[in-house]
């Protein structure tokens, strides 16, 4: 491997870019795909760059057999993070579930009675006001932001910062009616329809969730679909469309 390529790879990783290192094993050559585009090495056929993008999305290293020989795709994704706003009952279920799924979870709630270590063992807690907390957490393309408090004073400032970030998943808990009012307030704050469409609201997939744990599953499932498939519109595992 050329030192220049290694340096570029490390720089991209330090900048929290999504990087795929392609090693052409039978040619002793390598190439770098950063944020879906060929950065160094190559030229590479378009289908190989597409394979690198897929590997990044799936977050999985893989060995390909191609007409150019064996090629190893090594994926370097920034860590997954989840920011929950509102240290409420659903957060108590969602935080440990998301941690199991590989997310570094932070719960934000300025109300000290809610954000306690006994309610959230082993989860990072932040008691700053949500907009300040979100600004210092600086959501990137591997960050999900979910508001759970139902209180516009807490949820709205967090959503405003999230919408200005590259967060891959933004969701807000609350009924359709609550969500419609929320969108109205954010419109008045100057956000366009296209920007507001990034908010999944009400949060979660429609799986008939009732209990806090079930709602947490529905939100985590939707977050996973957006992360892995780039869409929350998904058929059931069996293949037929959910009715």
């Amino acid at each position: 491997m050329k030192l220049a390529l290694l340096e570029e790879l490390n720089r991209a990783r330090a900048g929290k870019r999504q990087v795929c290192l392609l090693r052409l094993l039978d040619q002793g050559a390598e190439a770098l795909v950063v944020e879906g585009e060929l950065r160094l090495g190559g030229p590479l056929p378009e289908e190989l760059i597409a394979a690198a993008r897929r590997a990044l999305r799936e977050d999985r290293c893989q060995l390909l057999e191609t007409s150019a020989g064996r090629i190893f795709l090594q994926v370097f994704n920034p860590p997954l993070r989840l920011v929950l706003v509102g240290a409420v009952h659903i957060a108590q279920a969602l935080a440990p579930m998301a941690a199991l799924a590989g997310y570094a979870v932070t719960v934000v709630d300025p109300r000290r009675a809610f954000a306690t270590d006994s309610r959230f063992p082993d989860i990072a807690l932040v008691s700053d006001w949500p907009d300040e907390a979100l600004e210092s957490l600086a959501p990137d393309r591997r960050t999900a932001v979910v508001t759970l408090s139902h209180d516009p004073k807490l949820d709205d400032p967090a959503l405003i910062v999230a919408l200005r970030s590259e967060a891959f998943y933004i969701a807000a808990l609350g009924s359709r009616r609550t969500h419609a009012k929320r969108l109205e307030r954010l419109r008045e704050a100057g956000f366009t329809e296209a920007e507001l469409a990034r908010i999944h609201g009400p949060a979660g997939l429609d799986i008939g969730a009732v209990s806090p744990a079930e709602i947490a599953i529905s939100v985590l499932a939707q977050m996973t679909a957006v992360l892995r498939r780039g869409t929350a519109r998904i058929p059931s595992v069996g293949g037929e469309q959910a009715s």
Partner: protein, 106 residues
Amino acid sequence: MIEDSRLLDVAEAWRREGRRVAIATVVSTWGSSPRPAGSLLVVDERGEMLGSVSGGCIEGAVIREAMEVMRGAPPRLLEFGVSDEQAWEVGLACGGRVQVYVEAVE
């Protein structure tokens, strides 16, 4: 334990210090193998190493190959198979197989 991707920072730092450096990467595994594809081992010409490509059973062989690659041999793809009897000893419980790519930082 040092995170795998951090090992590439180490490789860069060592190379900048003027040391010869090789990187070994697990590129495929069959059966049960202790380290997944993408696992890294970084080694310099004196044999100082960080990271791992197995539970320890193939590191010696990988480092020997890495020494040759650091001395100018082309990158190479190594394959290690472990029979069922050996497997138990080295912790590859169902006779794992692993392919490791070894290259120098030039």
